[in-house]
């Protein structure tokens, strides 16, 4: 599974990355978490407000406020 965290480097973007990694670890799924910081690439992925979360090519979250850890787990589980 491929999980993309998209954000240029704001505080919330780091939190989102942490959330994604923690969720992956706690669920014990096989997944790579990729951080995308290039603004052109963020836009290309269809994210207009950061941070964004894409699981297996599907936009699961965009913008503030951040989802809870439970919600992120649900998002990842849904794509297994």
């Amino acid at each position: 599974m491929e999980i993309k965290v998209l954000g240029p480097g704001c505080a919330n973007c780091f939190k989102m990355e942490e959330l994604a990694k923690t969720a992956v670890k706690e669920l014990g799924v096989e997944a790579t978490v990729i951080k995308i910081t290039d603004i052109g690439e963020i836009a290309m992925n269809g994210i207009l407000s950061t941070p964004g979360l894409i699981v297996n090519g599907k936009i699961k979250h965009s913008g503030k406020p951040l989802p809870s850890l439970e919600t992120v787990k649900e998002m990842i589980k849904g794509e297994e």
Binding site: P8, I39, A43, N45, G46, S49, T50, I54, S62, P65
Partner: protein, 316 residues
């Protein structure tokens, strides 16, 4: 009722003697409660409205919209669409890629930081609802006019080429539908977050108000920046352009200037220049706009804001 409460706290609870200090304390308590109440209620309501307009939806609404209607919609959506300057670039690219005209995109980018619920509530609480409405109305006017001028000038060539080459990967959007309860939770969280950011400015504004009310002569600024000085507006705008602050941060200064005799139009123009134009935002936008377009943007905004300042000095 609130006035009675402030009166009770000052004279009965604290047992203060009638006088200047007690008057100031009463004013401080009354104003603080009033403004925080307004802020909490209005931000909460706006947050709920906001949850219905994520940028992705705004982009769809504005895509291929005609001039004028598009600019008006963009300026209005700028009020409610959540947006922070750190997302200005992906937002800009996303809008252009979705076929939102350049001028319409600018109307959105201009209105978003300048006209928002925090600015309107603070102006309402400190100066009355008329001033708040005037600020909101003229802010939208500036966003529409400046966006239309940029659209007419056909400046698409001064947007960095790579912006046009970005093709969306067409990722499927699979964001869970929000229930009304989700929206309420979001609104609560958003309200707390904004209050945490602005409370200090509100206290400073009210404190300054009380302090300079008593100690700085009333007409201190009239000589320099009153309605009689024809250069008051351009000077205020020229000072405001490089300064940067959000609407809450500029409020204490605005309050002080107004108290000391700077005319209404000049103060509003100053506030718009501070919130709408800033060096950090220009640096961020430089990633998608060529320097020429940035210069044109800043110039058009400066002239439009000065125009608004004169207009209000003339009619108020």
């Amino acid at each position: 009722m609130l006035k009675d409460f402030a009166h009770y706290v000052v004279y009965s609870l604290f047992g203060m003697e009638q006088g200047r200090l007690a008057g100031a304390a009463e004013f401080f308590i009354y104003d603080t409660i009033k403004i925080f109440f307004l802020l909490s209620v209005i931000i909460f309501i706006v947050s709920i409205i906001r949850s219905y307009f994520p940028p992705e939806k705004t982009k769809r609404i504005l895509s291929h919209k005609r001039e004028f209607i598009g600019n008006i919609l963009a300026a209005l959506l700028g009020i409610v669409t959540p947006f922070c300057s750190c997302s200005a670039v992906p937002l800009f690219i996303g809008f252009i890629e979705a076929g939102v005209p350049l001028g319409v995109t600018f109307s959105f980018l201009i209105s978003s930081p300048m006209v928002n619920e925090v600015a309107v509530v603070l102006l309402w609480g400190l100066f009355g609802w008329k001033i708040a409405l005037i600020y909101m109305g003229t802010g939208l006017l500036v966003a529409v006019v400046a966006g239309m001028i940029i659209g007419r000038l056909k400046l698409e060539k001064w947007v960095e080429e790579y912006v046009y080459n970005i093709k969306s990967l067409g990722a499927a959007v699979d964001i869970a539908k929000q229930t009304f309860k989700d929206r309420l939770l979001y609104a609560r969280e958003n309200t707390t977050e904004i209050l945490k950011k602005v409370w200090i400015y509100v206290f400073v504004a009210i404190g300054i108000g009380g302090f300079i009310h008593g100690y700085v002569p009333e007409d201190f600024l009239v000589k320099y920046a009153g309605p009689q000085n024809p250069f008051g507006v351009p000077i205020a705008v020229a000072l405001g352009v490089p300064l940067y602050s959000n609407a809450a941060g500029v409020i204490p200064i605005v309050y002080a200037l107004m108290e000391k005799g700077m005319s209404m139009g000049t103060v509003l123009a100053f506030m718009m220049a501070v919130t709408a134009l800033s060096l950090p935002e220009m640096i961020i936008l430089r990633k998608v706009l060529k320097v020429k377009l940035l210069v044109v943007f800043v110039s058009i905004m400066t002239v439009t804001i000065i125009g608004v300042g004169y207009l209000f000095n003339a009619i108020l």
